[in-house]
């Protein structure tokens, strides 16, 4: 049984902390998430009991850490349903996407080839493709969103042609919160022998993920958005694709051999992508995070979040002074603005006012700087829920939003 009160006990950040002197209400889960005790313990256990670099052969301590590190690959593989050798540890979603653009893109794209993305993509799923296009003279094109902000299979189909080599989309947009039908999109993309890259930064933490079922070619995500430590992420790729890719970074740990005649022999996948000392303690923390999420159950998490999201949207809709941009969101990411005398109050002013009441929400374009084309505003306030948020926290948000006027926003500095 899903018991939010019990769950909240697991999070030190939810034990009476404050923001500007008021009880902390953390609604910025799209940016990063809070960490449960088990994750914190996994990291500190590395520091306190098993510090050493991973390196299998030499002494017991290092061997044990290495085993725990490698075990995480299995845990991730089980979590997203792939083989463990298809799990590459990166420093985050951004690193993963750059690795794919560089490692797959440079070898496979040529002039006039096409890369399809959308205007809703995060900067990290946009700029690496711009760069790849600039180098290879390929073109980046935008799959149009439908009026609810979704990527429909029809729109993907319309954009596909034999020049398309890569399609890269978020499974869930970090501003619009809708779930793309990745499975159906993959089917279309594969008809043209293109590869489908899925930015799972906002989906993997919230809904059950099965890469076999989705049949995407790559899936990337960050631990810190799913109760794990910062600066560790995953690049899943189908093995035969990973095999042919060049690493973005070279160095220690990813080569078997090199010599002064410039012969270089790289390790096998996934190791060849993990140059330098990996984020060992964070990988161990990711393992604990996945264990934690699985114990609660991804379906329970998704159900609870859906209820809370529905409640939040219905309450927001009751407010005259709030516009919700994505009332049909599938996931607990709600983008809105507050009006005063019919004029939008600048998002940062609203966020500052909310902060004064303990509420932590983010304003801005949320790194999706092309999205104004769809939203017709270039900045919103975002309420991003996670499974530890409560109805009471949402009620507090609603209550404060009711009093959000330009005057009150000014008053915070008087």
């Amino acid at each position: 049984m899903f018991n939010v009160d019990k769950i909240r006990q697991d999070f030190p950040m939810l034990q009476g902390k404050t923001n500007e002197g008021k009880p902390l209400i953390y609604l910025d889960n799209g940016a990063t998430t809070l960490k449960p005790n088990s994750v914190i313990e996994a990291v500190t256990n590395y520091y306190q009991n098993i510090t050493s670099n991973i390196n299998r052969g030499d002494y017991k301590l290092a061997y044990l850490v290495d085993q725990a590190y490698e075990k995480t690959r299995e845990v991730v593989a089980d979590f997203i349903n792939c083989q463990s050798k298809e799990v590459v540890f990166t420093y985050g979603t951004t690193h993963s996407l750059n690795q794919i653009a560089y490692g797959y893109g440079l070898n496979n794209l040529k002039e006039n080839d096409e890369i399809l993305i959308t205007v809703a993509e995060h900067a990290s799923n946009t700029l690496p493709w711009y760069q790849l296009a600039a180098i290879t003279k390929a073109k980046v094109k935008f799959i149009p969103l439908d009026k609810t902000g979704k990527i429909t299979v029809e729109n993907v189909r319309k954009m596909l042609n034999e020049n398309v080599k890569i399609v890269s989309i978020a499974q869930v947009s970090n501003v619009l919160g809708c779930i793309s039908d990745v499975k159906a999109i993959a089917r279309e993309v594969h008809k043209f022998n293109a590869v489908l890259v899925v930015d799972g930064a906002q989906s993997v933490p919230h809904i059950k993920t099965d890469v076999k079922d989705l049949d995407c070619d790559f899936l990337v995500f960050s631990a810190h958005k799913m109760c794990g430590p910062t600066a560790v992420g995953v690049m899943y790729g189908k093995y035969h694709l990973l095999e042919k890719m060049m690493p973005l970074m070279l160095g220690g740990g990813m080569n078997l051999h090199f010599d002064t005649d410039f012969n270089v022999k790289l390790k096998a996948v996934p190791y060849k992508f993990e140059a330098g000392t990996s984020n060992i303690e964070a990988v161990l923390g990711l393992k604990a995070a996945i264990k934690y999420l699985k114990e609660i159950g991804m379906d329970n998490i998704a159900n609870y979040e859906k209820q809370l999201k529905d409640y939040t949207i219905s309450e927001l809709k009751k407010l005259d002074n709030v516009i919700v941009y994505n009332p049909e969101a599938d996931i607990g990411i709600i983008s809105f603005n507050v009006l005063d005398k019919g004029k939008i109050i600048f998002g940062q002013d609203v966020a500052s006012y909310l902060s004064k009441h303990g509420l932590c929400l983010r304003s801005g374009n949320h790194c999706a700087k092309n999205l104004w084309q769809y939203l017709a505003v270039d900045s919103t306030v975002r309420c991003a829920l996670y499974f530890y948020n409560t109805k009471e926290e949402v009620d507090k948000l609603i209550e404060v939003l009711k009093t959000t006027t330009l005057e009150n926003c000014v008053d915070v500095i008087l």
Binding site: Q348, D349, I413
Partner: protein, 147 residues
Amino acid sequence: MNSIKDNPILKREIMMDHYESPRNFQLIDDNSYRQIHVYSQSCQDDIKLQVLINNDIIEDIRFEGNACVIATASTSIMTELIKGCSIKQAKEIIENYFNMINQKEYGENILKEAVVFESVGRQVNRISCATLSWNGLKQLLNENEES
């Protein structure tokens, strides 16, 4: 005259007024103006400033942009204060403004309406909003001297 500083209602009115009807708003397409584009590295504040300097006098100053109430009002108030000043006077005003923000001594009479930002430090994260354009102007004036 009542001190603005001690009158929160007046302070709020001044700020709202400058936000809703910003002074010297709208850039001009004229090469004799020096221009600077200032933006926050983190939030959305994004402002362009122009100044026209002749014989060490700031004959005109203009701005345009998309920014929060604090950044917008502080820019508008700044343009009113600065317009017509000599560079020396302008620098004195700027110095006083930063002194105020940093809780040091400053001349209330020199800053006039700009004193509404006296307690912006109550929300420390807003200091950058209240100083964005002022930093930009400082840079413009320094560049002027170097050239």
